[in-house]
Symmetry: C2
Amino acid sequence: MSPIICTVDVVLLTLHDASLHLALLKREHAPFAGVLALPGGYIHAEEDSDTRDAALRTLREKTGIGSAYLEQLETFSGPGRDPRGWSLSVAYYALVPSRLIDHESRPEVVLRPVDQLQGLPFDHPRIVEAALQRVRNKSSYSSLPVHLCGETFTLPRLQGVYEAILGEPINKVSFRRKIEELDILEAIEGQLETGKAHRPAQLYRLKKQYRQHLALTDRGLNSAG
Amino acid sequence: MSPIICTVDVVLLTLHDASLHLALLKREHAPFAGVLALPGGYIHAEEDSDTRDAALRTLREKTGIGSAYLEQLETFSGPGRDPRGWSLSVAYYALVPSRLIDHESRPEVVLRPVDQLQGLPFDHPRIVEAALQRVRNKSSYSSLPVHLCGETFTLPRLQGVYEAILGEPINKVSFRRKIEELDILEAIEGQLETGKAHRPAQLYRLKKQYRQHLALTDRGLNSAG
DNA sequence: ACAATAGTGTCTCTTAGACAATATCGA
DNA sequence: TCGATATTGTCTAAGAGACACTATTGT
C-alpha cells in the first residue's frame, strides 16, 4: 500500500488596513507550481517533535515568522485533495501583528484580504473557511484578537481589531466591561498614546502570563476567559 | 525516512446508570496487548475516503456501532506516543444512546465511568481528557447531548443527561427556555411517557433535519444553536 | 385523596446595550 | 477656545435563575 502523504498547512492571518488578511506563497513545485497557496509542507518525522512543531517550522522557514499565536484547527484528508495521492494535512491557524511580517526580506509573502480569495489550490478554500469560522467564533467570547496587535495597544485600537474580525460594530461600554472581566490586560503606568488632536488613550499590554505566544496552547488562553 | 504511522482513535461516549461512560477494548496485538484502550486503528488509504470514514469503519468493525454522532476532535502526534515510531492519530469522539451498544454480540466492549479511568495506554488519557472537555464545553451551549438519548425522550430525561455531562444541576425553567429557543425538538403528538405514578411527560424527538446522525457535521448542529 | 413529578407563570437579579456627561489632548 | 476622541457614569431592556403554583398520573 502506498504511504499516506502527511503535511501541515498554516492559515496565517494578520491585520492590514484595518481588515483581516491571509498570507499566501507561490508554490515552487508541482502540483500547482506558481499558484498562490497556504504555507505548508511535509511533516519531517526526523526533526519535528509533533505536528505543532512542524507547523512552527513551516512558518519560520516559509515566512520568517518566529513568534505567533498558533492553534491546531482541523485535519483534512482523503484521496482527492492532492493529485499525488491519499493525503492528510493537519491545518493550523496563526495570528500575528502585521509588523512581524518582514516584507523586505520576504517579498514572496503575499497578503490578500480574506473576503477576496480565489484560485486557491487543493482544498485550501475549505481550510481557510474553517479557520475564519473558528477565529470569528472564538473572538466573540475570548481574547483571541489581542494576538493581532503588537506588544502594546490602546483599547479603542483593540476594539477596532475585534470589529474588523467580527465584521460589525461593538458597543464601547460592553466591550470595555468584557475586556475588564477577562482580566488579561494591564495598563502601562503613565504610558499614553499621544500625538493625536484629542484626549490620549491609555496603552495596555497582555499580562505576563499570557505573553509567551509560542508556549500558548488553546487552553492557556481560554482558561482565562 | 521511515513513514509516519497514521491512525484514528475514537472516544466513544455513552450514558450508563445516569453517568457518562467510555467504551474500551482489550488490545489484541503489541504494543500493550491485553490492555484496555480506545477503539482505534490504521487509516486504510485504499478503502477510507477520509479520516472520518476511517473512524466510522473503526467504530463499526470494533464495536458494531453503525450509527452515532461523530465529530473530529484533534490530531495527536509525535515520536513518543507510540513505541513503534513517529505516529499521528486523528482523534474523533462519538456519542451514542447506550441501547445501541449490543453487549450480546460484542461482549468485548467494556464500559468505564469517565471519572474512573486509569491505566490507559499511549496518550489515550490525554485524548479522553480533550474529548471530555470538548463535550462538556459544547454541551453548555448546544444540543449535543440529545445524541446520547434514543429516538424519543422526555424533557426531564434530557435535562438529566445534560446534568450528567455538566456535573451540576440545571434550572428547569431556564433549561426548557433554552431548548425551546434552540428549536431542534418537536413534541410527538399525543405521545406521553406513561406508567409512572405521576403526571406523564411529553415525548419529544429531534426534528427531521437534525436526525441523520451519520451525515451530521459539526456545523450541522451548531448552526441551529 | 395523596404522593410524586410534569409543566407553566412570574418575580428578581444580573448583564448587555444605549445614551450621555466628563476628560484631555493638538491646533 | 474648539474639535476630536478617550473614559466613565447611569438608565433601560433583555435574559437567567428562583420560587411557587397548577396539572395529571398511579396507588
